[in-house]
């Protein structure tokens, strides 16, 4: 095996070998390759939108409910056009930015908030820790969709409220995991040593606890991304999430619903995008778990003899 000598190589060499090895592991799982390609397309879509490279998106009565796969038209019309004659592909690309953007912001909010609260609850315990954990129990006691719906009803649907409500409903999961990890790390020798050397709690939390907790939290966040996206599209479909003139995949399905029998493509493609993206996140998270599990990664990388 070449890996045994890897310890002796310079860092840069070792890093490039690690990347090569990861690529080989990716090639061992065709589904993960497909998922990676799809996510690459999604990233490209977000880039084209943010650099405003899209063609025009004006209402055109001539193109109303134009059917898809008419390759004689310009490329923006290849997926057809919506009820106002706007090219569906352009709308889909614009919706990608909103949908993914909201999912990422929400996950980051609950990741940061949840990790901080969980670490505090785990490290200090006491009354504060107890209060934090009981609030988590209360939120987890109700279905996520129910809490989110109720929150959006109380405070009114808007992008800001959507992010806050979804972040709060997902936060208890992060808090619980962060707390459990902290409880375990807190008892380790190096934390004791830091305390003996006179390190204050904030310093210990920043330099010793947070770095040990971070990998688990990031894994959790990557799994949650798909879930948050599904919730957002459900809420937007119901009319309680993204509001027009903004557009998200869930909202597009809702807008296409009325034309189900005459223009199926209006609802079909955005929903398909949600499904493919969610599935890609899940498949890659699965692949990532197997790669990082030494007892399983032989499944992906065949040994060269």
């Amino acid at each position: 095996m070449t890996d045994t000598s890897a310890e002796l190589l310079p860092t840069r060499e070792r890093r490039s070998r690690r990347i090569l090895w990861l690529l080989r592991a990716l090639a061992g799982d065709p589904m993960a390759v497909a998922a990676a390609i799809w996510l690459l397309i999604v990233v490209l879509a977000i880039l084209t939108d943010s650099l405003s490279l899209l063609g025009d998106n004006r209402i055109s009565l001539k193109a109303r409910n134009l059917p898809p796969f008419d390759f004689g038209q310009s490329w923006t019309l290849w997926l057809g056009a919506d009820a106002l004659g706007r090219p569906l592909l352009v709308r889909l690309i614009q919706a990608t930015s909103t949908t993914i953007g909201i999912a990422v912001v929400t996950v980051l909010t609950s990741l940061i908030g949840g990790t901080l609260l969980g670490v505090i609850a785990g490290y200090f315990g006491g009354v504060v820790g107890n209060v934090i954990m009981r609030i988590c129990d209360i939120i987890l006691g109700f279905p996520t969709l129910l809490v989110a719906l109720f929150g959006l009803y109380l405070f009114g649907p808007s992008v800001g409220n959507l992010v806050i409500v979804l972040a709060i409903t997902r936060m208890p999961a992060y808090i619980r995991v962060a707390r459990a990890e902290t409880l375990e790390v807190r008892e380790r020798l190096f934390v004791d040593a830091a305390r003996v050397f006179g390190g204050g709690p904030t310093w210990i939390l920043r330099t010793h606890i947070l770095p040990s907790v971070a990998p688990t939290m990031l894994t959790l966040a990557s799994v949650n991304l798909a879930m948050v996206m599904l919730f957002e599209s459900g809420l937007s479909y119901l009319g309680l999430g993204i509001q027009p003139p903004s557009v998200s995949w869930g909202l597009m399905v809702a807008q296409g619903q009325g034309y189900l029998s005459s223009a199926w493509w209006l609802g079909f493609f955005p929903g398909l995008a949600v499904m493919l993206t969610t599935m890609s996140f899940n498949l890659l998270a699965n692949w990532f778990r197997i790669v990082n599990d030494p007892s399983q990664h032989w499944r992906l990388v065949k040994r060269r003899r």
Partner: protein
């Protein structure tokens, strides 16, 4: 199961519900005009003034709170604006439909997931396993409302063999059940497959093989019984999520369940219905959690409910 355990769980459930409702009560009064919760956005000023008086918003916050809490404690959630009937009556009518829908979908998903998951685990790494993996990932990732619309498009609009929406005989249940089936099925297949692979490699399975038990018996008696526990736990969580109604799916099919009632109540700003349905859902979830605990104890003799 001891009586004190039951009391403890009931006390916590009541506390959680009280906390949710109370924080909602105060948050609404801190952040805006509660009249907005009860009336549509385009309501006239006169209607707003009447509602303000009816809700007693001119009185002190504390007096309002005690009044509101007393009404809830006596299970009086007020009249539904939309149905013009006591809100709890409307909720109690919708509840059995939701429970039946959720129970059917979950039972089917659980059974199918155990069969598919076991088959995948026995053939781990083979093409059957790969196929089941892709299918279950797709089922776990598909947005249920979209699956519903596509079901309507295919079976109701194109083939005309199923109704688009509504409520009536068994034929109206097919599409809603199929849509609610997808996500738990996908999730459970993954879990059953994982724990089955682990169980099939465990020493007690090797012992069973060594003493000469047949393959089928080893798989379905020795391994499966141990692999079942995580699936039961997850099903319990899923059941609790379903109690909130098949939410979006019920809306797609116009299925008269608690999810549709709640979402309609939210969209039509019918606060009495929203409060009453959340109360009912909390009670159902409490019962489900107790049942799951009991079920867990009966499958795994090592677990004691305490």
């Amino acid at each position: 199961m001891s009586f004190t355990y039951f009391l403890k769980r009931a006390a916590f459930a009541a506390l959680a519900l009280a906390a949710l409702m109370t924080s909602a009560f105060f948050l609404v009064r801190l952040t805006g005009d509660p009249v907005n919760l009860y009336l549509p956005i385009d309501a006239s000023d006169a209607a707003r003034e009447t509602m303000r008086l009816r809700l007693g918003l001119d009185r002190s916050l504390l007096a309002q709170f005690f009044d509101w809490a007393w009404d809830i404690l006596s299970l009086d959630f007020g009249m539904s604006l939309w149905h013009n009937r006591p809100a709890m009556d409307v909720v109690l009518e919708a509840l059995p439909n939701t429970l039946a829908l959720g129970a059917i979908a979950l039972a089917l998903a659980f059974t199918a997931a155990i069969v598919m998951g076991s088959i995948a685990a026995v053939n781990a790494g083979g093409w059957i396993d790969r196929g089941v993996n892709v299918l279950s990932q797709a089922a776990a990732s598909v947005p249920d409302f979209w699956l519903g619309l596509m079901g309507v498009l295919l079976f109701a609009v194109t083939f005309r063999i199923l109704p688009t929406s509504g409520f009536g005989g068994p034929i109206y249940w097919v599409l809603p059940v199929a849509c609610l089936f997808a996500r738990p099925f996908g999730t459970l297949v993954q879990i059953v497959r994982g724990s089955m692979i682990e169980a099939l490699n465990a020493t007690f399975v090797r012992t069973a093989r060594a003493k000469g038990a047949r393959d089928g018996r080893v798989t379905f008696v020795h391994a499966l019984r141990n692999a079942l526990l995580p699936a039961v736990t997850v099903s319990g969580d899923l059941a609790a999520q379903f109690a909130g109604g098949g939410g979006v799916v019920e809306v797609v099919f116009g299925f008269p369940g608690i999810g549709k009632l709640l979402i309609d109540g939210i969209l039509k700003r019918d606060f009495a219905i929203v409060q009453a349905s959340i109360f009912a859902v909390a009670v159902v979830i409490f019962v489900i959690n107790i049942l799951v605990d009991m079920l867990y104890a009966s499958i795994d003799p090592r677990v004691r409910v305490e």
